[in-house]
């Protein structure tokens, strides 16, 4: 660890300048912005904008949908990736090809995938053939509220690999002796997972959960591609509300909605930060 070095500025300053100008200043400016009335005088109105936006039906719809979509995707990613990571660990070095395949979609642009997704989920598509085979009646995946299913699946498909990789990294650091000992004591697979694996990877699990939740809250691309700027009610997200207000030049509303959203994210952030692990330790 270097202390009192002039060269610090050489490394810090260029990046810091950009960070301040393009990220922090807009963030702080936005707080002020959400409390002014947007007229020429720019009167300070405290929380009047918030009251108005909260009462707006489109905002409520967007907020509810964003929450629900993230509550569908984040736990799915979290649980599935944990199970997959445990399975991968049991295969040791032979797990590499599986890992590589699982992470692949993370790099694939979502818009390129859209067409095949629409074909698979078409009323006469493969997914409905399976549904039919199981003896149920076909579902209008793309034309009804069921649209959430293909969207959430596209999102999970694309993002699960990253969580698997983070989990796998954490599992790698659990010593094998622990499991051997547990086996000698007669602990089964489930018991081993809950008594050894889970507690030891908990800090990482927390990071995975926060990232999965916050990122799922940001689902927009996938919905935008399928439904455009004004999609069906069931998938109209908070980001749609903001984008549409933005194109109507109602900046105050956009920013106010944004900060209501940010508060939720920041609560999670605070929890993440409280765990001193992430801050790292001096070595």
């Amino acid at each position: 660890m270097f202390t009192k070095k002039k060269s610090l500025w050489l490394f810090l300053l260029p990046g810091l300048a950009g960070l301040l100008l393009f990220h922090l200043v807009p963030f702080l400016g936005g707080i002020y912005f959400s409390m002014t009335d947007g007229t020429i005088n720019n009167n300070f109105v405290w929380f009047a904008n918030y009251q108005r936006v909260f009462a707006n039906a489109a905002f409520q719809k967007g907020m509810r949908n964003s929450l629900e979509l993230s509550l569908l995707s984040a736990p799915l990613i979290f649980v599935l990736s944990f199970i997959l990571a445990i399975m991968l660990k049991s295969l040791r070095e032979r797990s590499l090809p599986f890992r590589n395949i699982l992470l692949m979609p993370y790099l694939v642009p979502s818009s390129a995938l859209l067409i095949i997704w629409m074909v698979l989920f078409d009323y006469g598509g493969v997914v409905n053939r399976l549904v039919d085979l199981l003896g149920m009646s076909r579902v209008m995946w793309l034309e009804s509220g069921a649209l959430r299913v293909p969207i959430v699946l596209l999102y999970v498909w694309k993002n699960i690999g990253f969580s698997v990789v983070i989990f796998s990294a954490a599992l790698q650091s659990v010593p094998d002796e622990y499991y051997e000992f547990a086996r000698l004591e007669g602990a089964g697979h489930v018991r081993q997972a809950t008594a050894i694996t889970l507690p030891l990877v908990l800090p990482t699990a927390f990071l995975v959960f926060v990232l999965a939740w916050v990122n799922a809250f940001k689902i927009f691309k996938e919905v935008y591609f399928i439904g455009g700027a004004y999609p069906r009610d069931e998938v109209y997200t908070l980001q749609h509300f903001m984008n549409n207000r933005f194109s109507k030049l109602e900046y105050q509303d956009v920013t106010t909605a944004a900060y209501s959203f940010a508060v939720i994210v920041l609560v999670f952030f605070a929890m993440l930060y409280m765990r001193k692990g992430v801050r790292g330790h001096d070595r």
Partner: protein, 294 residues
């Protein structure tokens, strides 16, 4: 040299492992399916694909789309049409290349340096700064959208490519990612590299950067994926300059007008991402493995 006698391993696979194998194979097959189909369909003749896509949205009972697995005739016509007859696709593609290239170039300069300062220097305000970066990385783009537009307008960058490129060059997430790696480089390794008491600059170039190769590769690949998939920023910053739009934004408009070539268009769009991935996949696994992710 002595060889330790190992107990002879039983050659049968445990049932638990077999279950894991089976499940993983099925899941991986499902994960690959959309990609495989996209590439497969890109070699179908245009007329066949058009006819296939026209059977969508048929709600009559008993009517299904065909399950196409082999073309009547393997054809490169879609690619020919896309690359030779429709210059607009290549132009959009090149726009995406420019954005991605510029963003990565900027990040190579700005991200490792800040991460180095945040991980290996002790200074006043370091905690505050890191706190700020963590917070910013969790916020979606829309939160700072309106004030960012005002900032860009003040800088005269609205409706230029720079409005898209510049902010991402300083992306908080990648600063976080690289910093978490650099902070877990053991102190002994730093000292070993600095026996002659070299300064901070030498230590950066000769010790930290070489050791950080995995995470830099990982960050490059992940950042490539982000930039290749840019949507929110161009939609806002480039609304009046449509010719600057990257492929990611225009792909849907393009493909709904050009049904015959849509799979080749998708395959070509996916291909660079897969190439980058295959080049950097070890780095991604190793980089995250060695980082402090707690």
């Amino acid at each position: 040299m002595t060889v330790k006698a190992k107990p002879i391993k039983k050659r049968h696979i445990k049932p638990g492992k077999l279950i894991s194998y089976t499940i993983l194979v099925i899941i991986c097959a499902l994960v690959l399916l959309p990609l495989v189909l996209t590439f497969l369909y890109s070699f179908f003749p245009m007329s066949e694909m058009k006819a296939f896509l026209d059977t969508r949205n048929n709600y009559e009972a008993g009517k299904w789309m065909d399950i196409l697995l082999a073309p009547a005739m393997v054809s490169l016509r879609q690619y020919y049409d896309l690359l030779i007859d429709k210059p607009v696709y290549l132009q959009l593609f090149m726009n995406s290349v420019k954005y991605t290239g510029a963003i990565l170039l900027g990040q190579i300069v700005f991200i490792p340096t800040v991460a180095y300062a945040l991980s290996r220097f002790r200074f006043k305000g370091r905690e505050v700064l890191f706190f700020m970066i963590l917070m910013l990385m969790l916020l979606p783009f829309q939160v700072t959208m309106a004030p960012s537009v005002l900032t860009m307008r003040a800088l005269g960058l609205m409706n230029t490519a720079w409005a898209v490129i510049l902010p991402i060059m300083f992306s908080p997430f990648y600063i976080f990612l690289v910093r978490q790696f650099m902070i877990s480089i053991p102190g002994e390794m730093m000292e070993a590299g600095l026996m002659d008491g070299a300064g901070t600059i030498r230590s950066f170039f000769h010790v930290v950067l070489p050791l950080s190769k995995p995470i830099l590769g990982a960050a490059a690949a992940l950042s490539f994926a982000d930039s290749w998939n840019l949507v929110e920023q161009p939609l806002i910053y480039l609304s009046n300059t449509q010719h600057l739009m990257p492929l990611s934004v225009m792909f849907n408009t393009f493909s709904s007008n050009e049904q015959g070539v849509v799979f080749a268009a998708a395959a070509l769009y996916i291909l660079p991402a897969l190439l980058i991935y295959s080049y950097f996949q070890e780095d991604i696994l190793l980089g995250i493995q060695l980082s402090d992710m707690k």
